[in-house]
Amino acid sequence: MKTTLTVNGEARELDADTRVTLLDALRHHLDLTGTKKGCDHGQCGACTVLVNGRRINSCLSLACMHDGDEITTIEGLGTPDDMSALQKAFVKHDGYQCGYCTPGQICSATAMLDEIRQNWPSHVSDDLNGPAKLTVEEVAERMSGNLCRCSCYPNIVDAIRDVADAEGGRS
């Protein structure tokens, strides 16, 4: 099925089996292997990408459902020579070890910081209507859809809070 996606700002044409997930389309049809497959069932978050600015598990979505959508993958957030603030913070705080869940963590954190800016509450927020605060507990809660078996969670939290601080976003 023919599908047109905008991936990292570039129009990409796809003509693939309707069973192809957005994840496999990125990895094996569009040569964007930065997005990882950890479970293929929406359980680990390694495949997290941004679709029209919101984070989703790309393994749980078929590519053909995304005609006209804007997709941002890890490759669209920065390059080794020009890393995003979160990518730099992950390196500085060692928010990764094997690196396999890392693109998903960073895509997820990118969207999560935006959710904070928009004052979306979470399960652990004290006040559903007040400004969202980026406490350790809030970051941990909001990042719990992204598993890391190397278990860099404390470093991931530090990296994200570091970036939020720099943006004045921790409030």
């Binding site: 680990c44 490759e75 080794p80 190397c150």
Partner: protein, 731 residues
């Protein structure tokens, strides 16, 4: 040129402390970090090879029996299907660590539910996945297979693994205080985030296998043996490995299947396990039943101890979880009994998962010590301090270095242990009972044969090359740092290449020996290069300072580049020697945890956790700390949530994915504290560095379950400590 060392005795020269570049030990960022955080590090499944087909493993739906016929007609008729591979060389079990030969083959003899039988190859993943379901496999079922140790009537007591010294029964009856309890731990799966994957490609009779493996020099021989080809014709590449934790020590069915299919079809073939296949066909940590007996005198000093346990494996496997690996030497007592039982069961085979032995053995033993502390009324830290042996209590060998007391003092002081009220269920905050607990950490230390090439160029760049892997452990970092430190170069001028069997064979990542073994090989090469540079200057190596590209001797400073008219190259080669036999070597630490247990639901939350560890010289403070975070978090999972559930009828795994096998998630893990206790162990290697990849898990879960007892007065002896095991005892 080769610089060779067999480690037969201590090396007190401690040369690394005399270096000037100042990069060793520092928390340097990982050199490959920018690739990993931008998604540009390439893992096994991500190579786009021309004309590559995709294979999906088809697997057994019975527990034991024979495959009579694989009817592939329906599958072959589906669009895109290229072939259905049934071949007697397909492996039914993954290889154990360092097997160095093919694992059990005979895929038509089914020995566990989910065992690979065939490979369906298609143009695309979607087509192969669909066709694998269409395969009709006919079996001759052999009913009645034992799928749990309780059902098994084959219980082996392996020779050389049993200990009987003194008279433990007598010591138990004469003891002022004793503990005699039984614990159970469930099966654990490594659950690395990258599923096992391989892409195979043949060219003029030579196989290139891009795989996700931990120990390439062995993996090459394993693949070659399975295929029946000369290892010279096999090249394995694993520059990036998305986590291993033991599960990728040996080759697996995906690698052999990909290689066979690629050869037959004359085109590259990629096989990636699904997450369900990772649970059902990858080696797991055996569940265990462990009876621990402790006999102590009036002062809490151990007179004797017993560790009697049962683990299991599948037919034809000789590995058995070495539960008592640290029991042999951690605590004293003249009366000792270790009984190591192995049941034969038809479950997916067992093998090494992070810290095989100590992960569950130390954990349970540290629970027993907590019960002894309760019985004697002695503080748990003090009880351990009173029970530090002078020598290996079983063999009489001296310790190379013994840091348990230091780690206990350091951890206790930092955690604020002093003045703790030992009374259980004494602190209620809102709806939560609060408690603290601790445990000792112990893990054996060893060095393995390893080689690395170090090349210094006239432009003052240097390269480290070895087939050693970095599975997240920090190998890229530490090998770069060792070379830079010795050669007096900034880190940016040293490049480390790993994960390619065309490079000198390294130790591989396993058993916490990667850093010390591969690191020593680089150290040896670097020292030899220093000697060559010193010779050019006509000075002794010990009088030479290399820093920022300058060679400094006395008041003379010479640009290092002036001394190089071409590249200098040395292969460092280390081997374990008599040191491993002469002394007992181990790493030690302490774990402290504070938990909150909900009085209404029995749910446990870890509020605070701290580890203090001694592992000799710390080569990179950042990556070493991360390794400890990982180990401790594995401990949280082990304590509270991780458990493989086997169906008692057919042994299939009921929770075969990440939704049902519960790893700790971010919200389960507080901001853990990790501290290193300074240590130099001259017996370990000339760098005086020891392994740290596994120490963090050893005993970690016990600190949490001991804290649960302190919070609630409930002793959970059946891991994991889920709420149903606590709730019935709360008010």
């Amino acid at each position: 040129m080769t610089a060779h060392l067999k480690i037969d005795g201590p090396d007190e020269s401690n040369r690394l402390d005399g270096m000037a570049q100042g990069v060793i030990h520092t928390p340097a960022d990982r050199p490959e970090g920018p690739l990993k955080v931008t998604g540009t590090a390439t893992y096994a499944a991500e190579w786009q090879l021309d004309g590559m087909a995709t294979g999906v493993l088809a697997r057994a739906t019975i527990t034991r029996g024979k495959v009579v016929r694989v009817d592939a007609e329906a599958a072959r008729a589906l669009p895109g299907v290229v072939d259905v591979i049934t071949d007697s060389r397909l492996v039914r079990n993954p290889a154990q660590g360092m097997a160095n030969e093919s694992p059990v083959q005979a895929p038509d003899t089914v020995s566990y539910f989910g065992q690979p039988i065939a490979l369906v190859v298609a143009e695309t993943f979607e087509q192969a996945r669909h066709a694998a379901h269409a395969l009709q496999i006919q079996y001759e079922v052999d009913d009645g297979a034992a799928v749990s140790p309780e059902q098994s009537d084959e219980i082996d007591l392996p020779e050389g693994k049993q200990v009987a010294q003194g008279d433990l029964d007598q010591a138990m009856s004469a003891a002022a205080f004793s503990v005699d309890q039984t614990w159970t731990t469930p099966g654990h799966n490594s659950s690395a985030m990258e599923p096992h994957a391989a892409a195979a490609e043949w060219h003029e009779g030579k196989l290139t296998l891009r795989s996700s493996n931990q120990m390439l020099k062995y993996n090459r021989n394993e693949v070659a043996d399975a295929l029946g080809v000369d290892p010279e014709n096999v090249r394995v590449l694993s520059p990036y490995v998305g986590g291993g934790f033991g599960s990728k020590l040996g080759i697996g069915p995906e690698a052999v299947a990909a290689a066979i299919a690629a050869e037959k079809l004359g085109r590259p073939v990629r096989v990636v396990m699904t997450r369900q296949q990772v649970y059902e066909t990858v080696l797991h940590r055996s569940a265990s039943r462990q009876r621990v007996r402790l006999a102590a005198d009036e002062d809490g000093r151990l007179l004797g101890l017993g560790h009697d346990f049962t683990v299991y494996n599948n037919v034809g496997e000789v590995f058995s979880e070495p539960v008592a690996q640290a029991t042999h030497f951690t605590y004293p007592g003249a009366h000792r009994e270790i009984v190591h039982r192995v049941a034969t069961v038809h479950r997916v085979p067992t093998g090494s998962v992070r810290a095989p032995g100590e992960a569950i053995g130390v954990t349970v033993f540290e629970n027993a010590m907590d019960e002894l502390a309760e019985a004697t009324g002695i503080d748990p830290v003090e009880l351990r301090l009173r029970n530090i042996p002078d020598r290996d209590p079983e063999s009489g060998k001296p310790f190379s270095s013994h840091m348990l007391a230091d780690a206990l003092h350091d951890g206790a002081a930092r955690f604020g242990w002093e003045g703790r009220d030992p009374t259980p269920r004494a602190r209620l905050e809102g709806d939560w009972y609060i408690g603290t607990g601790m445990a000792a950490a112990v893990r054996v230390n060893t060095v393995m044969e390893s080689k690395a090439r170090l090349c210094l160029h006239p432009d003052l760049t240097a390269e480290v090359e070895t087939d050693m892997t970095d599975i997240g452990t920090g190998t890229y970092s530490i090998l770069t740092q060792i070379a830079a430190e010795l050669l007096g170069l900034p880190l940016s001028q040293v490049t480390t290449r790993l994960g390619d069997t065309d490079l000198p064979p390294g130790a591989g990542s396993g058993g916490s020996w990667g850093a010390s073994s591969a690191g020593t090989s680089v150290y040896l090469a670097g020292m030899k290069l220093r000697e060559q540079i010193a010779e050019k200057l006509g000075v002794a190596e010990t009088d030479l300072t290399l820093k920022d590209g300058m060679a400094i001797h006395g008041n003379r400073t010479t640009p290092l580049s002036d001394l190089l008219d071409g590249p200098l190259e040395v292969i460092g080669h280390v081997e374990g020697g008599d040191a491993g036999e002469t002394v007992r070597q181990a790493t030690y630490g302490s774990h402290f945890a504070e938990v909150a247990v909900n009085r209404h639901s029995g749910e446990t939350r870890v509020r605070r956790m701290l580890g203090s560890f001694a592992c000799g010289r710390v080569l990179n403070e950042k990556t070493a700390r991360s390794q400890c975070l990982g180990g401790m978090t594995f401990g949280i999972g082990m304590a509270l949530t991780e458990e493989m559930l086997f169906d008692p009828r057919d042994g299939h795994i009921a929770n075969n994915d990440l939704a049902e096998y519960h790893l700790a998630v971010n919200a389960d893990v507080p901001q853990l504290e990790v501290h290193f206790v300074p240590e130099r162990d001259p017996w370990a290697n000339p760098m005086q560095a020891k392994g740290i990849g596994e120490l963090g898990i050893c005993g970690a879960a016990a600190a949490i379950t001991n804290a649960i007892w302190h919070a609630t007065g409930v002793r959970v002896r059946d891991y994991p400590a889920t709420l149903d095991k606590i709730l019935p005892y709360l008010d």
